[in-house]
């Protein structure tokens, strides 16, 4: 039930980018604040760009900004994009994939799990995460967390 670092980093990067509104946010900035390899971030954000979640501004003082309003990007969309799928087992996505489909003792369980995951991720948008992040920033953070979260 693991979420890859690609998806984790993608989410954290989007919050960072979303937080700064229309001003383009550079990956150098994100990578420093979030302690993520810049080169790795490039690959991750490239996927987000091709999917129309962020848009890029090239050149000096360039960076990325959200291509859509905060509340129109769900965590489900992001995780599904970075992960390929959120389904716990292959037969749920791709019914053809399994001879047992419709006749399997565990199919119902995985289906319930899939729905629960989709409910949580689909019910959370970047707007929620940015809001949470801003709340956190109100309380001054201890030194060790400076520049993080």
């Amino acid at each position: 039930m693991w979420v890859s670092t690609r998806a984790q980093y993608g989410m954290r990067a989007l919050v960072e980018i979303g937080l700064r509104g229309d001003e383009p946010t550079s990956l150098k900035f994100v990578s420093e604040r979030q302690n993520i390899s810049q080169h790795y971030l490039e690959q991750i954000v490239a996927v987000l760009r091709r999917a129309g979640i962020v848009e890029s501004v090239r050149g000096a003082h360039g960076g990325y900004r959200l291509a859509r309003p905060l509340d129109e990007v769900t965590a489900l969309e992001v995780v599904e994009l970075m992960e390929g799928s959120v389904a716990p087992v292959s037969c749920i996505e791709d019914s053809e994939n399994c001879v047992r489909v419709g006749n399997c003792s565990t199919e119902g369980l995985w289906r319930k799990l899939d729905l629960a995951v989709r409910a949580v991720l689909g019910g959370t948008t970047l707007a929620d995460l940015v809001a949470e992040r801003q709340l956190l920033q109100l309380e001054p953070l201890p030194e060790q967390f400076a520049g993080l979260n």
Copy 2:
């Protein structure tokens, strides 16, 4: 958000074993009915045995039976055992693991996800799965599914 085949196979094997009550069920039988490599099953069931979920009967006509009542084995226990953990990210299991803990914009999301997964898996026992399996068997299956599910 993937569940490994180890966990999938483990669940299916347990349903098969649970279905036959006190009579020990051989892995040959399980592997044929469920189309799972017998050697791979050995490794999986060995883990279940060491965890006290099944017990073995050695020798001819041996096999495995459940070590506990059907309704005292949750899917959560099995998946957690086979997978090591069901947490979506490491910082949830092991708070020490993350400098950002308590100060992270995405922590809440992963925590909600973890709870939802635990609710579904923890709310399902082998008794539920065996019952579902028995319902399926009432309707005669098409030829191609004979011996499956």
